[in-house]
Amino acid sequence: MSKKYDKIVENAVGRKVPEEINGEKHVAFKGVGKHRPTGNKYGPPIPSCADYPDDGDKRQSSLKEALLKSGIKDGMTISTHHHFRNGDVIANQIFAIAAELGIKDLRWFPSASFPCHEPMIEHMKSGVINRIEGSMNGPLGKFASEGNMKGVGVLRSHGGRYQAVQDGEVHIDIAVIAAPAADAFGNANGVHGDAACGLLGFALADAQHADKVIVATDNLVDFPCIPWQIHGNWVDYTVEVDKIGIPEKIVSGTTRITKSPDRLRIAELTANFCDAAGIIRDGFSFQSGAGGTALAVGEFFAQMMKERNIKARFIRAGSNKYPVKMLEDGLADYILDGQTFDLEGVRSIRENPNHVNTSPFTSYNYHGKGNFASMVDVVMLGATEVDVNFNANVVTHSDGYMLHGIGGWQNCLFARTTILPIPLFRDRIPVIRDRVTTLCGPGELIDVIVTERGIAINPKRIDLIEKAHNAGLPLKTIEELKVEAEDICGMPENPQLEDEIIGVVKWVDGTIIDAVYKVKTK
């Protein structure tokens, strides 16, 4: 067997990364907008109607049957999606079946993983799964960070995942799409049924490009299943199962506005900064995540819009009840939604034609003819660490452990103004560091850091500095913020890492921006 990784080079942000991983060739990061793909997009084998039932009934007796029909075997790539978040039950079933069948060395290609996927650890230990290419956090993050995964993990953004599939960088053998509502032909949506989760956009790339596509549902409806975010024409097999997901865990997550006075201050400063920068005007657009601070920023925006009698043209979301209320209160014309975080979001997308589903293709894909993320006026994102050059980390914790997926984070950096509203330190650990543990986003795309102790604007954004200059905001340099945090918290030690690479972080264009190293456990 070939080495896990090889051909280490230094990339354009000074990080040492392998150009050969798991026996496949990759390209090191060249700089923002520098890499140009060549050739054509990947196309799956051409199917024929002659091989599918005329009555459209593609049902199989069980998930196992469907996997067998799909030709599951050693070394394949199997993809699943995270629209059920921590309430997903199907991914674990798939690999339990594979284990039962004695299949080895699978690549699991989820759009994200959650703590509910802890059983995968056993499959990695027993060799059923070779590696995960997708976000790893919680128990999986710990397992991989401690060097226990056989292959090297590959972490991609939502847009990067679409790009990798579309470009043929990742060839999916079998995609299993868990759907809250589907018909026997395979048309499917996320808005009806007990496990309604809103959207299925994360499964779009897989539906379009996988060799075999299986749709599993616990809510089989008569043809046609309307709306059909996933077209049955892409689907090979359908399966009816007892339970597709655990509804109360599907809508879990941080969906409440923060009550912490410190986070509210960060949110208020963020909104005030946006105001000073002239961003909040009639017809603007914004995106903020579902975290408590981000939601609070949206609420401050809403207050400003109400007072001035203006509205946003669109909100890009991650939606839940707060942006939905803004839409319904007439404070925005549209929500362009990538995933829904609560039942209000699901209801709204089902009922309101101005609450529109989007996908990683429309919103994020870098190898397309533009995407929505770059058209957003301002985006608020998180980060675990930022360095004095505004490079940021969203994947690993300061102790080196993988903590978060990239999600749409990298893709969103292309917004006109990118703001990281983050506390200056968390449980004593300063956020601003000399060097980020893992570099996920280049500083040239990160414009502003807003902390409870002050706002640092990237010196490259002279325009923002000029606008914010006399607005009574607590502007500081990023170095000043760093010194302040260290003055309070003391100087942290550097994380204890081995030389061994256990994962790589892809940039939005498929190049490798950084490597993730094994954490020293002794």
């Binding site: 006075p261 410190d262 509210l264 201050r265 300061s398 102790d399 080196g400 968390r426 449980d427 004593r428 650990i429 409870e452 102790r453 003055d487 309070i488 918290c489 003391g490 942290p492 030690e493 994380p495 204890q496």
Partner: protein, 403 residues
């Protein structure tokens, strides 16, 4: 319970930024165990601190178990000191170098629109409190600390006075009721406290007894700056004695009212409108003005309703109060903004102020604005509003030359 176990600090699911210490005395050589959320980044530093503090106490046999949830050094050593004092009976202080800015003496005439209460044994709430820019931060040793935590809270409050970043807020401590509160003073007076809040105050003697201890400590520790006092009136008797207390000594610079206890003493309930406390509040303001000190109003306890808070502050301002206690950081800007002169008030004050200056320059005995004569008390009020506006940053010091 094992009598040889000594505990300090808080532990549990919701505890953050704190440190729990458990000490077991035994015949075995010292063993230190550390569970820390930040072990990989600060573990070595914490272990070194633990060894250091143990060495100071010459604690060489037994175990020290530390559970750290991201506490800063001054918190860790406060917990260690509390537990080691109990375990060894030795009265040794382990102090980190004091922050330079925490040595600044307090100013008598600074404005005290907002003072934010912080429970004296809850480090998590202290760390960012100053960022919300209250005029004062009160480390509370009295009602916000459970009786069985009073002992360890003193060390935490002492260390916070020395090492917490206050961001320019006045460093205040509310001690326990006198006479118990007198014992608190040795933990705060030598450590940079600007102002001591004396709760449930009912007589000038209580203030004198506080000052006696303060003077003794100042003498011992060679402190020559003043330490200001803010008595809190919380009973019917206190209200009757308000002027006596307000004028008791020179270092009483403000006096507050505590309405929860006061209304309980009256046998009535506190309402938002405050009809039941109108007499007491008026009496307070009157006593304070007579003694030329700042009258400060009670806290407003509904932390969710900012509009009700604003209305409350407006009533308070109308009664003549000059500040209010806050129990949540989000109350600070609301109280601050409402107490400060409004734009309209300020515009009028500026006109009157200028008219007065003009009249003075021209040697006129009478101030007039347009065709209207301005009475001296009106001028005085305007001057006061201008002063407040300058003090609170609403108005540039040189506004008169700039306009």
């Amino acid at each position: 319970m094992n009598k040889n176990i000594y505990k300090a600090g808080n532990n549990g699911d919701k505890v953050r930024s704190d440190c729990y210490v458990e000490i077991l005395r035994s015949e075995n050589p010292l063993e230190i165990s550390l569970e820390s959320k930040v072990d990989k980044l600060y573990g070595n530093n914490i272990r070194k601190l633990v060894k250091d503090v143990a060495a100071q106490f010459e604690f060489t046999h037994g175990t020290i178990r530390v559970v750290d949830t991201g506490a800063l050094d001054f918190i860790i050593v406060a917990r260690l000191e509390a537990a080691l004092r109990m375990a060894t009976g030795k009265e040794i202080s382990y102090l980190l170098p004091q922050r330079d800015d925490n040595r600044e003496p307090g100013k008598k005439d600074r404005y005290r629109f907002t003072r934010l209460y912080l429970p004296g044994n809850t480090p998590k709430l202290m760390l960012n409190a100053g960022v919300h820019s209250p005029d004062g931060l009160i480390l509370d040793l009295e009602d916000a600390v459970a009786p069985d935590k009073k002992y360890e809270a003193r060390f935490l409050v002492r260390n916070a006075l020395r090492n917490l970043k206050f961001y320019g807020a006045e460093r205040m401590v509310r001690v326990n009721q006198i006479p118990q509160g007198l014992e608190d003073l040795e933990y705060i007076v030598p450590h940079g406290v600007n102002m001591v809040l004396v709760p449930k105050c009912e007589s000038a003697e209580q203030i004198h007894s506080v000052n006696k201890v303060i003077d003794k400590l100042k003498n011992e520790h060679h402190i020559d700056n003043d330490i200001w006092l803010m008595p809190i009136i919380e009973s019917a008797l206190g209200v009757i004695k308000a002027y006596e207390i307000a004028s008791s000594t020179d270092n009483v610079v403000a006096m507050a009212i505590g309405l929860e206890d006061y209304t309980a003493d009256l046998g009535t309930l506190r309402t938002d409108e405050g009809v039941e406390s109108f007499y007491a509040r008026s009496q307070m303001v009157n006593a304070c003005r007579a003694a030329k000190i700042q009258p400060i109003d009670s806290v407003f306890s509904d932390i969710e309703d900012m509009e009700a808070l604003r209305e409350n502050v407006l009533r308070s301002k109308q009664l003549g109060f000059e500040g209010m206690g806050c129990i949540h950081p989000r109350q600070v800007p609301v109280v601050q903004k409402t107490f400060a002169p409004s734009e309209k008030e300020l515009d009028k004050a500026k006109k009157i102020y200028k008219a007065f200056e003009d009249a003075k320059a021209k040697g006129l005995g009478v101030v007039s604005l347009g065709s209207k004569m301005i009475d001296p008390p009106v001028v005085k009020r305007a001057q006061r509003q201008i002063y407040v506006a300058v003090k609170t940053g609403l108005l540039d010091e040189n506004w008169i030359n700039k306009e």
